[in-house]
Amino acid sequence: MKKVASMTLLLAAAVLLAGCPKKPSVPESANSRSQVPASASTLGSGAASTTGSPYGDSSSMSAADAAAHAHNVIYFDFDKSEIKPEFAEVVTAAAKNLASHTALKVKLEGHTDERGTREYNIGLGERRAQAVRRALLLQGAAEGQITTVSFGSERPAVEGDNEAAWSQNRRVELNYQSAAGQP
């Protein structure tokens, strides 16, 4: 009779699930947003003088963001968490910045490429964030200024199933937070 009981249980669960009202489907904001860059560039080149269209604004914003971003990301080799010599300057500059602005806080976000298992990748991402944290501490930043978080392979910078994408995704992002403090 245990079987009958468990079937009834399953049934209850399934009926619960099956009987649900349809949710209004989520607006495909992600999809429409992803088409923005193409439209933006078309509009940008077509219109001689922009009159502050949302497209123009968002494309110049993202360009500015990207420029700022370039100095706040450290990239890693596959399965490695050593900071490569070409990123020593980024680390030194960040450490100086933190040492001279003691109210400044930085969140180090560790990421991996998509290869491997997701939870193990969380470990690798954390290891990368910690490598940057140690380097910053050695060069004068204070413990209380730094937090780390690992997203593993969950938040790629670039989508794609190839080394070009993967090399962009194996990274630590340095995200500065105001002294007022964000969560």
Binding site: V4, S6, M7, T8, L9, L10, L11, A12, A13, A14, V15, L16, L17, A18, G19, C20, P21, K22, K23, S25, V26, E28, S29, A30, N31, R33, S34, E114, R115, G116, T117, R118, E119, Y120, I122, G123, L124, E126, R127, A129, Q130, R133, T147, T148, V149, S150, F151, G152, E154, R155, P156, A157, V158, E159, G160, D161, P183
Partner: protein, 433 residues
Amino acid sequence: MNKVLQILLLCFLTVLFVPRADAEFVVEITRGQAEAIPLAVVPFSTPEVAQASFDVAQLVDDDLARSGRFKTMGRKDMIDQPHNGAALVIDDWRRLGNDYVLVGQMTPDNADRYTINFELYNVLNRQRLIGYQISTNRAGLRLAAHQVADMVFEKIIGVRGAFSTHIAYVSVLGHVPNRIYRLIVADADGENPHVIMESKEPLMSPAWSPDGQSLAYVSFEQRVPSIYVQVLKTGERRRVSAHAGVNQAPAWSPDGKKLALTLSTRDGNLDIYVLDLATDALSRITDDPAIDTEPQWSKDGQTLYFTSDRAGGPQIYRISAAPGGRPTRLTFDGAYNARARLSPDESQLAFVTQEAGAYRIATMDLRARSGMQVLTKGHFDVSPSYAPNGAVLIYASRDRDRGVLAMVSADGRVQQRLVSSEGEVQEPAWGPF
């Protein structure tokens, strides 16, 4: 008179919390089994009735065919469509090459109530193997069909069917940086998907409670990882782990009272802990500078299996679930073996292995401690999860750059893909019976 059992299917007309997801699945069998058992599933109702309500026999047929264990007869090849044993001319079905034949009848009792009678015959010895009746409302017809398939599967194969169970998985819609992550629960065949949780930040590692009532999962909704436990029926959820740093990889103890999970120290060292859900007491199980993660319990709750890179690359280890144990390494073939799942009978360990630059699902016989068997051929096959009957594993695979779900029989001989109509699908977890 043979024993006829009756299951009353309950109808819940309460306002329900879970919305439907948009993604549904198309099943493709990518590799079959030569010795599939020939079986005929005769339609249970006239085409008009099936059209107006639900073609129960077709779903039974689909379930059994997809299992890879049966070769089902096409309806156009049937010379007759009997609805019960009395009308069945067994010799005809034997001549058509069947070993078994399932007949049945779906009768509408009223606008929303149906009775399904069905009988399974062994064509070779003319024995009636099953005579059964299910009563259900319209919303329960799909489940009733899965239950018919479960009974047929168990009677012929000798293993409990898992067609009426559920799966959970994560689906990702949109593209960076504007992705939407959804935690979804669906029927085992991918139908009836329902969104359990939705977030703009990653959702990871859904894990079923042993009673099938709750899911534990990791959510980055606060831009840092926390572990939540959510009751499916009510939607009520509780944040059970939100320590500084890593809160990952929840796994329920077999008694449902504890979670094994991965936490980090301040300097980022990941170790396995056990959290008592009633008292919030935490005990540390591993203590090593390596990455220790992806814990799984043995059935008796005494042992944890986990991934560690303490010897260089990730490998699978076993340790006592009480503090102070010493780990034993289990995998030695290859440079990358991770995220173990224990088969329900505990004879096998399934995990992800690296082979020729690809990630694939492999199993290892725990009793013989023999070498491993690689079950899949994809280039990015991860996140294996056993069906509760141990016959099949569901896993995440890649199809032309897109994350899809796939299934493989535990012996590797039957493979199929569940193709979602949209989004990227990952981290399937098969629920209990």
